[in-house]
Point group: C2
Chain length 497, copies 2
Amino acid sequence: MDPIKDLREHFTGIVRLKYIAFLLEWDMQVYMPSGASQGRGEQSALLEGIIHQKLVSDKTAEIIKKAEGVSNPNLIDAAMLREAKRDYDRAVRVPLELVKEIAKTTTLGYKTWEKARAKSDFKMLKPVLEKLVSLKQQEADKIDIGPTRYDTMLDQFEPGAKSDWVLKIFNDLKPHLFRIIKKLDSSSNKPNQEILKKFYDPEKQWDFSVEVLKKLNYSFEFGRQDKSTHPFTTSLSSTDTRITTRIWENFLPACLFGTIHECGHALYEMGFDKEIHDTILADGTSLGIHESQSRLWENMVGRSREFWRYWYPILQKYFPENLKKFPEEEFYRSINSVQPSLIRVEADEVTYSLHIILRYEIEKELIEESIMVSELPQLWNQKMEELLGIIPPDDAKGVLQDVHWSGGGFGYFPTYALGNLYGAQIYSKALEKHPIFLEEFEKGEFSTLLSYLRENIHQYGKIYEPRDLLKNVTGEDLNSKYFIEYLERKFYPIYKI
Amino acid sequence: MDPIKDLREHFTGIVRLKYIAFLLEWDMQVYMPSGASQGRGEQSALLEGIIHQKLVSDKTAEIIKKAEGVSNPNLIDAAMLREAKRDYDRAVRVPLELVKEIAKTTTLGYKTWEKARAKSDFKMLKPVLEKLVSLKQQEADKIDIGPTRYDTMLDQFEPGAKSDWVLKIFNDLKPHLFRIIKKLDSSSNKPNQEILKKFYDPEKQWDFSVEVLKKLNYSFEFGRQDKSTHPFTTSLSSTDTRITTRIWENFLPACLFGTIHECGHALYEMGFDKEIHDTILADGTSLGIHESQSRLWENMVGRSREFWRYWYPILQKYFPENLKKFPEEEFYRSINSVQPSLIRVEADEVTYSLHIILRYEIEKELIEESIMVSELPQLWNQKMEELLGIIPPDDAKGVLQDVHWSGGGFGYFPTYALGNLYGAQIYSKALEKHPIFLEEFEKGEFSTLLSYLRENIHQYGKIYEPRDLLKNVTGEDLNSKYFIEYLERKFYPIYKI
């Protein structure tokens, strides 16, 4: 009789079923034939039901209760119990009927969003979005972590984070971003992206991305890369972490930085300590920390001068017709050009967080009922003008661009911006400890940085909560100054300021 | 309260879980990274356990009992009940411990077989094979459909078939095959396979196979083709039937006929009536009938003169360096050359059934305890000499060549030969009704034949049991004369006899 062992095994059963659900999803996005959607939907719903039942069962309650009786659990055991209780509590408080209603409405929301976006018609989405907001409000009221509904939602993605804390961080960050953007805009020698918009053979883009993955220590023994419409990372077990990328033949960064971004996520999941493999702790400790890893590799490493010192000559050999005579320095500048734009996923490092702040401000008010769904398009456009100085020509390029809300994902967006901030703070610390990284990048070596991240972050999975983890690594709470300093130090020289 | 509806839905739940298990398997064979085996194995075992529990639950018993109370069920309802009872009875009689022990030993058997075959060392496999035989005997004793253990095993793959019936069919068939082989061997103008053993670019082989699939009405909306070590067909729902092929760059038939063979299986599964989609009836009515469809398309269509009248000029354009000057008639002869050989999966249409008869004779005696596992290699070689006139140089090319026994698949082999016989009988009937097929093949048209098979076989899935189905289609019980006539009519001209 070992209550912690029972807990571990019981939740590993649930985790394994989730991995199976992720395979259903991976296959759907990557290889499933088009006519198979409905049958696959039924399978996913069935499996989700089984997972939910297992999680909220009396057996789970009993196992947790017994584990709570264990005195002085070690670090891992205590974390397992914490996460088990967290998952159980969130799930058991929501009536099965509401779970099913949300699942159904989410599916409908996704389908409706696809159509509404294609027609750029927000009115099509309005009814289902209203229903979804109401259902997610009911769900939050049941779970009630508090203090507000929005806090409950946020906590699902960023455990321990409170909305007031996020608000303060974003309000601190905003004027700095405005200031930096204004300064960059005043430059008389701006980089531009023209070179990136030539034709780049898709097969060669793919081959280059694989070469980069290998050097970044992504393991093809425990993972693979495929293509999908939207790049993503998924773990189908602790020894099977797959990524996808997309290839645009007239825009080089899509595949290249898509691959590096997902590689960053994957390296996190590939780095969990064997002790927690396939357990409830085998996951990123929060979406924000997860995003810190993807953004760190994509931007701080992948868009650095040092990185391209090694890779640019190789890239030139892949695409001599475009790049043979194009200088390395100008290429480096082109992949770092800053320009307020309409679409979040295409935004540069500087303006990106403003897209997130916009979404955060809107969804918070929506959930707290200060605004109504019908007001979203107008509010979106108004805030776009305030924050980025541009107004979307239509809803497809405005309020309809992201899938998150149509899938009920409220409280998710802030984690993207937190990821940038976490990433800069962690990277700053890593550089301080091992300044040699940068020299290594120039030689195509990335293992010292990876070792640092593995040792300080990856291995722990969910053992430490995000705030504790960050404090352990950097010695302080989240501080946006690292991100601001990083932007200034990087972009002023690029803009010859 | 509709007991049949309840039955239908309950078993559809089980079927959907099986589809998920098939996806785990498909992914493992096609795309899973090498390091992920163990985690995947755990997931499969977990899911199999859930499926088993659901099948043998009190709820299943209750649902079946209520459905049995329904008077005058229609054809489909009666078939659902019959198949539900069949699955339930087979599963509920086997103790869970034995199920788990067999699953574990099967996995070990497969791994051991791989190593033993690589080293051509039967002794390595012997202990686990002995255990497996004993476990499968225990299982058969529990299920006990009878009259003998072997009948119980056979019934799993070929419902309603009895070992005595199979024995009679095989004993009838044997002398005819000997006679035909002898006659072909006496020819002074034999075809040979040299032209097929040149280098054929793998990518072009793939493209050609896809072109063939499209013309054969394989639906890429409801399926896809990938590559794997061993070609197979699997349905991941009633609207998702996938096939795989393999490409050998120095042997053209591997990909070409592998694809057509699997396409034949897939067309069966793609043709089930919508009414039975995703139900317990959405499956081939037996492995023998399933194999009849694959062999019919592979051999009777795919290796016919008419088929190549249309396809050979196209194939020549794919591989002009090899085929431009090579005559169509000689190509047709080369893909139909007959030669006793060591490996079953590479055997021609004439000698193939002898490989099966050998396996059937051996496994029957093994299960009935007339021979021991240790005697297998010697008995194998002895029977090879008797039936095919050649002796394997080692066990890898002899008793170790097939995976079936190492996976506990006793009673499976006969269905391969039955498939040839069913196929010839069905094809003969189809040709009698619609002699125009052959002219259509010459124009690259295959839909009349497919419509015939859909209407008479495919749509029914498991609604009719194999014997009834065959009688409905052809008006008589299985009769090997159709196969023998087919061989004689086809091969004597090829051999200029």
